[in-house]
């Protein structure tokens, strides 16, 4: 192939202008004539039966136009068809504080807000289940009757290779417990949707979703309206990170309220509601047992995970499998056993957040490898290089690995950061840590079973030389529109800014499954390449005929089709289009992509983990610890990332830096935590996403391995680079103060406790983290006791008054 003219160049992002100038129309910026404003009434109870729900007073309130409740949409819905356990609005029972119970449409927001207090709802409280440990108890009430044992949602047990023999042959064993605290996406744009049901019986919803296609399917089910009559338009996104990839109550409610009132209805969540919508990072308790030979070679790994799933399934099946599936792709593991359990609790449902399910176990594994390196006296960077899973191989759990650049990442990182020279050599309080990781470039299987493409695209050329790409992808800021324009431009020999992109619209564009699991560049990129390549052939034929030059000698670039040997010999792109259209008729081509078969195993549960290609990355973190106040400052994070090929280097660097920022926030302070069923910090003041002042110096190193199946060799860049950051920081803190942080987040209080400075009697510790399963239980029960105590005290005070 001739040199690329668009891809790999530092060009402006094509869709940035609207965002930069403020003219981008987010869902909440849409105002339609006669539009009503909706609001959701949410449960004040963590776990209760609804004994009364009477909307008559609210309905009589001046300005209220319609109210819908759970029984109006009785179908179960949910992102994974096999485990749907939600309804659009709660029916008979609520399972977390903040669960939507009813929806009001009124002439303005104030009226909707006022009318909420006029809905009469009464609850019969049930004991809330708030911890993994309590959810595993058989003697507590079930959150979902379908759970066969305790409050277990899903249990997974997989075993590969000879685990016993592996452990028996080990020279050294480690058995470590970890806990990863839950956290949430905190997108700056809160969720918003506008639905409009028209006189022709067709419904359109504009919504900031990551998954227009899956939402389309669920709307059909919940509303009883054929999909042919529904159009989903994904609006410009102010951040998703996985938090907008479920179908949500406000979307269903806006649609039904519009159908009832025949007027457009907008529902925009307030910030607190975004914390209740959640679907964020699962809290996960983990245990890893690893055997190694004296030279560090891993002989066996037994990994166990307990996921706190919250009240509903969301992507929970995939999350559960993902905690185990990708442990094998980075380092050679000849025997591997994985046991995973996801439980229901009375908290907002957890789901996918950037790194979906793999972030927590990767943190645990990379922290443990750091311990093994210390145990055996190895340099942690060199050690990782010695045990790498090779390129073009199969893992023990039968995942196909193609390109694999983790070794190059480690090399580049070592050269850049001088990790090996500095680790263990810095003064007390200063530390440097390293970790590697991996992620999928899209899932091998779709969320619902089918044999159709995962991504489709059409490319249309008009006789004026215009190019339009139609693809159902959701642009969530990750750069998918720019990717589509760039790949089409590369194929056709035009500039990205010449390409119109129509995306995220189920009526106008072919299906793409959505912006999740880092699939879009790989899959939609291949689909649009497939489509554009067909048109390229026609254009080359036309130019070849006109110039009487063999087509092998012709190359399209910069709006010309030029003779490679003589740049004076060319046909302009516009002329080539006219010639081709005269010959073939209207110029339009469709392309699609479906991952190859046989990239994973055939065992039950083999569906989660396979990907057409894996990204690899490694990070070095540099930290300073204030030994007196316990405050940890992360000074710098450097990440080297194998993205196959950087189609847009600036965009890849942006993803690497954004991931580092997000990972930093997750380990240094963000936590989605609860007190007696109530979210402890549902605001951006109390939920501590880092500010620009807190953010470390961030550095991105692009490593290219040119994957043979990726579009022009590309793999993912949006999620993987988060995974290595978190354990790198934990390992750096160990280097700084000799304390292992086997739980997140790392807070000043925990550092002081470890340093023996929390109180006068404090003894230094070398580790902060869980000891096993039971130790979270006491705190939870104490919280419950405290809750009932406050209630009793209040009652007593009332009685005395």
């Amino acid at each position: 192939m001739a040199e690329l003219s668009v891809l790999g160049k530092r060009l402006p992002k094509v869709n940035s202008w609207a965002h930069l100038t403020g003219s981008a129309k987010y869902a909440d910026d849409l105002f339609l004539p006669r539009m009503l404003y909706g609001r959701l009434l949410r449960s004040t109870q963590a776990h209760a039966r609804i004994t009364k729900l009477d909307v008559s007073r609210a309905l009589a309130h001046p300005g209220v136009v319609a109210i819908v409740t759970g029984p109006d949409m009785p179908e179960t819905i949910g992102i994974m068809p096999s485990v749907q356990d939600e309804t659009a609005l709660a029916i008979d029972r609520v399972r977390y504080v903040g669960e939507p119970v009813a929806a009001i449409a009124a002439i303005d927001e104030d009226t909707a807000f006022e009318a909420m207090s006029l809905i009469d709802v009464e609850y019969d409280p049930l004991p809330p289940i708030l911890t993994i440990e309590d959810a595993l108890r058989e003697d507590l009430p079930k959150i979902h009757e379908k759970s066969r044992r305790a409050n277990i949602f899903k249990e997974v047990h997989l075993s590969f290779g000879d685990l016993d023999a592996g452990f028996a042959s080990a020279d050294h064993m480690r058995d470590d417990w970890f806990f990863f605290e839950g956290n949430t996406h905190a997108p700056i744009e809160s969720h918003s949707a506008v639905a409009s049901f028209e006189g022709d019986g067709k419904l359109t919803i504009w919504t900031c979703t990551q998954v227009p296609h899956y939402l389309h399917r669920e709307l059909e089910k919940a509303l009883g309206l054929p999909r042919a009559k529904i159009r989903v338009v994904a609006t410009p996104s102010g951040g998703g990170f996985g938090g907008k990839s479920d179908p949500f109550a406000h979307e269903f409610a806006a649609c039904l309220l519009s159908m009832r009132t025949k007027r457009p209805v907008k529902i925009t969540l307030d910030r607190e509601e975004v914390f209740y919508a959640h679907r964020g990072r699962h809290p996960v308790k983990m245990r890893i047992k690893t055997g190694v030979k004296q030279d560090g070679e891993i002989t066996a790994v037994h990994f166990q995970s307990w996921l706190d799933g919250g009240a509903y399934s969301s992507y929970g099946i995939a999350t559960t499998y993902y905690t185990g599936a990708l442990m094998t792709v980075t380092y050679r593991i000849p025997a591997y056993k994985f046991d995973g359990v996801r439980v229901y609790t009375n908290k907002p449902p957890c789901g996918p957040k950037r790194g979906h399910g793999t972030t927590q176990p990767r943190y645990a594994l990379e922290c443990q490898l750091d311990k093994i390196a210390v145990d055996l006296g190895f340099d942690a960077l060199e050690y990782r290089k010695r045990i790498l899973q090779p390129a073009n191989s199969r893992t023990v759990n039968e995942l196909r690995i193609t390109s694999m650049g983790l070794g190059q990442c480690l090399d580049e990182l070592g050269a850049k950061t001088k990790y090996s020279e500095r680790h263990g050599q810095l003064p007390r309080g200063k530390g440097v840590g390293i970790a590697g990781s991996a992620y999928i470039s899209g899932a091998g299987l779709p969320i619902y079973w089918n044999e159709m493409p995962h991504s489709g695209a059409t490319v249309k050329l008009d006789r004026g030389g215009g190019v339009t790409v139609y693809c159902g992808t959701a642009e969530i800021g990750q750069g998918s529109d720019n990717m589509l324009a760039s790949v089409a431009a590369e194929c056709l020999g035009v500039r990205p800014e010449d390409v119109h992109v129509v995306s995220g619209d189920t009526s106008l564009a072919p299906v793409d499954l959505g912006s999740y699991s880092s699939r879009v560049t790989f899959m939609a990129g291949n689909a649009v390449k497939d489509a554009a390549w067909k048109l390229r052939e026609w254009l080359l034929d036309a130019a070849s005929e006109r110039l009487a030059i063999p087509r092998e000698c012709l190359v399209p670039a910069d709006r010309r089709i030029t003779d490679l040997r003589d740049p004076e010999q060319f046909v302009t792109f516009d002329d080539a289009v006219v010639l081709a259209e005269a010959k073939h008729g209207t110029l339009s081509a469709a392309g699609s992509y479906r991952p190859p078969q046989g990239i994973g195993g055939g065992y039950k549960g083999a569906g989660v983990g396979p990907s057409p290609a894996y990204s690899f990355q490694a990070s070095v973190a540099e930290v300073s610890v204030d030994l007196e106040t316990g405050v940890v400052t992360v000074d710098r994070i450097t990440t080297a990332h194998d993205c196959g090929r950087a189609l847009s280097p600036a965009n890849v660097e942006g993803q690497i830096e954004g991931s580092a920022y997000m990972g930093y926030g997750e380990i240094m302070g963000e936590e989605q935590v609860f007190r007696g069923g109530l979210h402890k910090k549902p605001s951006l003041l109390d939920y501590k996403i880092p500010t620009s002042l807190d953010t470390p110096e961030l550095e991105a190193i692009i490593v290219e391995t040119i994957d043979k199946e990726g579009p022009f060799g590309a793999k993912e860049a949006g999620e993987g680079p988060l995974n290595s950051v978190i354990p790198a920081i934990a390992n750096a803190v160990y280097d700084a103060i000799g304390v292992r942080f086997d739980e997140t987040p790392i807070t000043a209080d925990k550092v002081l406790a470890a340093l023996g400075k929390r109180d006068n009697r404090g003894m230094p510790k070398d580790r902060i983290g869980p000891e096993g399963m039971g130790d979270g239980q006491e705190a939870a029960n104490a919280a419950l006791r405290r809750l009932s105590f406050t209630t009793e005290a209040r009652e007593k005070k009332k009685a005395n008054a």
């Binding site: 979210h679 501590k688 500010t691 807070t747 929390r758 209040r794 005070k797």
Partner: protein, 338 residues
Amino acid sequence: MLRLPAFTMERPGTYAEAATLLRAHGAARGDLTRGTPSLPVMLVAGGTDLFPNMKRRQFTPRVLISLGGVADATGIARDKSGLRIQAGTTLTTVASDAQVRERYTALAEAAVLVSTPQLRNMGTIGGNICLDTRCNWYDQSAFWRGAEGFCMKTHPEVVCRVAPSSPRCLAVASADTVPALLALGASVAIQSADGTRTVALADLHQEDGIAHTKIARDEIVVSVTLPDATGWRSTYLKQRDRGSFDFPIVGLAVAVKRDGARVTDARVALTAVASRPQLVADAAKALIGGSLDEAAIAAAADAVHKAARPMDNTSGTISQRKRTARVFAERALRALAA
């Protein structure tokens, strides 16, 4: 998003008019009531704290009296007794004023650490002095507090959520500028329809999360005066989770007056570790007459540690904040000794 409750707005042109309007709209003379969500009338200056609180229905006044249009409400002027800062002066102006930065360093350092640049452009020094106390059971939406069952700060019939047996509200003093002003010996001019009184800032706040100031509902803070600072050096240290936005979880100001090496006067003030900002008299005592050596610093830090009585109702933890108060006392005093 959350919506403001309905209210009407008055825009007086003078403090005297504002004081008359306060009475006219139902603020009773000398009324020290705080904490109930249905106060009839409230003042608003920058609005950076009041409006979010109103959106969360912590306050639902029927009338707001804006001080934004009051003549001569802003400005910093030097007179023979020291420096007078009009209450409506924004925190940005206070933080960037050359006299404040040079002679009253702690105040400039505190003002620039309040929240974010945008909020400092709106928020005023007077507003910061009157800042409502904070608590993570109280600074929540109406929905959240309703789900919890509210707390005594808004509902007298309910217990304190932080410590159910507590007879008083434990909400936390959270203004950054107040400890700096305390350390600098500030006094405050307060006007009502009856006239103007001057109070030492040290006498203005009290250890009660609800009735946290002795400013009556019909009174207006109009200015704050700092005494002459000749011979004084001061500094403010703030602990918070992030480099912006956050309220203090420990705030410590120190001012020291020296004659040669000898400390002739000192004030150490602490906030965010109790319901009131406080001068730590024992810390000052440990410093006065000495030479700011390590022994004196340690004694002062001990006194600060003892005075810090945080509760579990802000970010961070009790022991972390208590310890940080001590460390900050050491660091601030060492910085001034240098």
